[in-house]
């Protein structure tokens, strides 16, 4: 029986690829296209050095996009992550530099403020049913005001370069040997957990991945990730801040895919009435994602301030909001709720930062740069959408 099931499974995979269920493959293809073109236009683009920067720059907004993914998954939105990140950076700077509090206390305070803001949003949403668009638009304005007020009479505050925080965001890289250990552990863990899982499934008479499949998968991870690490190590290596981002992606992936809470988030986004009737605490689900999102925005703001070694009045304004939301959407998260993954945030922000970094290297007029950014963004997503569309026309709407 196992073998027929395995054959079924294989057939399923093949069919699902043929049927257009390509997961993240299209975004990756889009990314490869972008990278190739930029590399042809300027060979610095794929240099280790530039990629090291690209990875570091992705982290703060990427973390914010991770929060946005959660909010979008329940079918809501948060327009205020930019303001919250700016406010959080300002609070951090005032507490740490102006008030001389220990940096850890300042960080925790900024994060707590973020969480509180999310909680406030959730209360307004759950009690009054105000659309989250409006709540967070109000938040966008109000917290920008608060940020200006916190920095009033100061303008900008420098964070000391010597502080661990700034060091973390600018200069601390994983020692090469440790990076390779990480890769090995990841591949090993993927194999062992996959193996145990497959065995449990087989014991229960369910179709399961074969040993070869598991080995290939782990081997691919080992070689792929190992290659990336090796290449980045040609320059300064893998930044700890990027490691933090990836770790957060993995944790969120686990929470969304492998816990009851995660299922409740998808359910609320898919059909809130069905979720309610399944006795899911819908309000708690909303509260959790709003709190997560604002807290992540605060973390993003802290890292942005640390990377800049300064907090100022314009931190978090400009395109931070749109970039965070766009990263989530480009990574395949639906604006209508119920569809998306944590990895999407990672891919999406890498697409956005690649476009930005590639264009930076091209030395264009701002007018042209805006136009090209728009065009490239569109192209990257068209690849993805066409694939998705073929899936829909195959009836997997």
């Amino acid at each position: 029986m196992t073998t027929t099931l395995q054959r079924q499974r294989l057939k399923g995979t093949v069919e699902s690829v043929r049927g257009g269920d390509l997961g993240v493959i299209p975004v990756v293809v889009g990314l490869v296209v972008i990278w190739t073109v930029f590399q042809i236009l300027n060979p610095v683009f794929l240099s280790s050095r530039n990629l090291v920067d690209l990875a570091m720059d992705s982290a703060p907004v990427g973390i914010m996009a991770l929060g946005i993914v959660c909010v979008l998954l329940v079918g809501q939105i948060d327009l205020s992550v930019g303001s919250v990140s700016g406010l959080s950076g300002a609070v951090l700077a005032v507490l740490f530099v102006d008030q001389g509090l220990p940096v850890v206390v300042a960080i925790l305070a900024a994060m707590a403020l973020g969480a509180l803001i999310g909680y406030l949003y959730a209360q307004l949403f759950n009690r009054f049913g105000v659309p989250s668009f409006v709540i967070t638009l109000a938040g966008l304005l109000a917290f920008l005001g608060l940020q200006l007020w916190v920095l009033r009479g100061k303008g900008a505050i420098n964070l000391p370069f010597e502080s661990g925080l700034v060091n973390f965001a600018q200069l601390s890289f994983v020692p090469p040997w440790l990076a390779y250990v990480f890769v090995a552990v990841a591949a090993g863990w993927l194999f062992v957990s996959g193996f145990l899982h497959a065995r449990a499934r087989r014991d229960a008479g369910l179709p399961a991945r074969g040993l070869t499949g598991l080995l290939v998968r782990s081997g691919a991870l080992l070689i792929g990730l190992g290659g990336v690490v090796w290449y980045l190590n040609q320059a300064r290596g893998v930044g700890w801040m990027f490691v933090l981002f990836v770790a957060m992606v993995l944790v969120m992936h686990y929470l969304l895919a492998r816990t009851k809470w995660g299922k409740s988030v998808y359910a609320v986004g898919g059909n809130v009435e069905a979720a309610r009737r399944a006795a899911i605490n819908v309000k708690a689900a909303y509260t959790s994602v709003f709190v997560l999102c604002s807290t992540f925005a605060a973390i993003g703001g802290i890292l942005m301030a640390a990377r800049l070694a300064a907090a100022n009045q314009s931190s978090g304004t400009g395109d931070v909001n749109l970039n965070a939301i766009a990263a989530a959407v480009i990574g395949g998260t639906s604006l209508f709720g119920g569809r998306g993954t944590a990895f999407g945030a990672l891919l999406g922000i890498v697409v956005i930062q690649s476009i930005s970094s590639g264009l930076t290297l091209l030395n264009l007029d701002s007018s042209i740069r805006f136009m090209v950014t728009g065009a490239v963004l569109l192209l990257a997503v068209i690849v993805d959408s066409v694939a998705r569309k073929s899936r829909t026309s195959h009836g997997r709407a």
Partner: protein, 329 residues
Amino acid sequence: TTTGGTGSTESAKVAFLMPDLASTRYEQADAPLFKAKMKQLCPSCEVIYQNADSDASKQQQQANSAMAQGVKAIVLDPVDSAAAASIVKSAQSQQIAVIAYDRPIPTTPADYYISFDNEKIGSMIGQSLVDHLKKEKAKGGLLQVNGSPTDAAAGLIKKGIHSAIDPSGFKLLAEYDTPDWQPEKAQQWVAGQISQFRDDIAGVVAANDGTAGGSIAAFKAAGVKVPPITGNDAEVAAAQRIIAGDQYNTISKPIKIVAEASAVVAWEFMQGKKPAGKATLYNTPSELFVPTVVTKENIKEVLFDSGLMKAADACKGEYAAGCAELGIK
């Protein structure tokens, strides 16, 4: 000191990093002038021009990217003076010279500083207006239209304006930080103040030409006489309004001079020299230039006779008559 970057001086790279698009000068004046001068000094050198669109993080990325491309010097007009410290640190650790341009970097000394300062600009336009009003024996108070509340440079201009008008004896009726420097916002705010203060408005200190245009439109739309209004940047549109008598002043910054001076300094750094400044400011060898306030009285000489602006651009259509009157050809 010039081991940063690759290749010889002959094909060296230099970065010219500007802060925003809210003011058109960076893209339209500073960058082309700098490039032209650089070309003249070193025909084979490459200028990497970037504009950070008011985003300090973006500016940091642009600087990192320039360093990855092996520039030997960076001319930096910081979006945020505090945040620019990171760029200076990082560049200096790679033996790349940083020339602070337009706005200073007080906390971490750069290798050189070339500017006219924004605070000074604020005080000059304010003072020019106050002097004019006193001469005209004007009655009433002033409105102050500042730049974006999130823009550090706007903060400096605002400070300068206050230094001129606070002791002037004219009452400050109300002041406003214009989000994103948007002329439409300035217009709406001024319109509200017209409803409120009606004939009490003796003049308006607007922090740049865009907000000045918005203020003027507000008076026109209210059907009220336009009082003297300041500006800053010497845009063509502002020159036209000055010619037509709608705007009182603007300020012309010697962009050509600073841009070219910075090119010369950058080239010296690229060759491994260490130019000494004319002065020392913020622990940095510095060179400061003085801008000129432009009014109807001197617009011909300052903007047109000097070649900064072409009569063909400004004296079109309805402005032809005004130009003729002032003898601008």
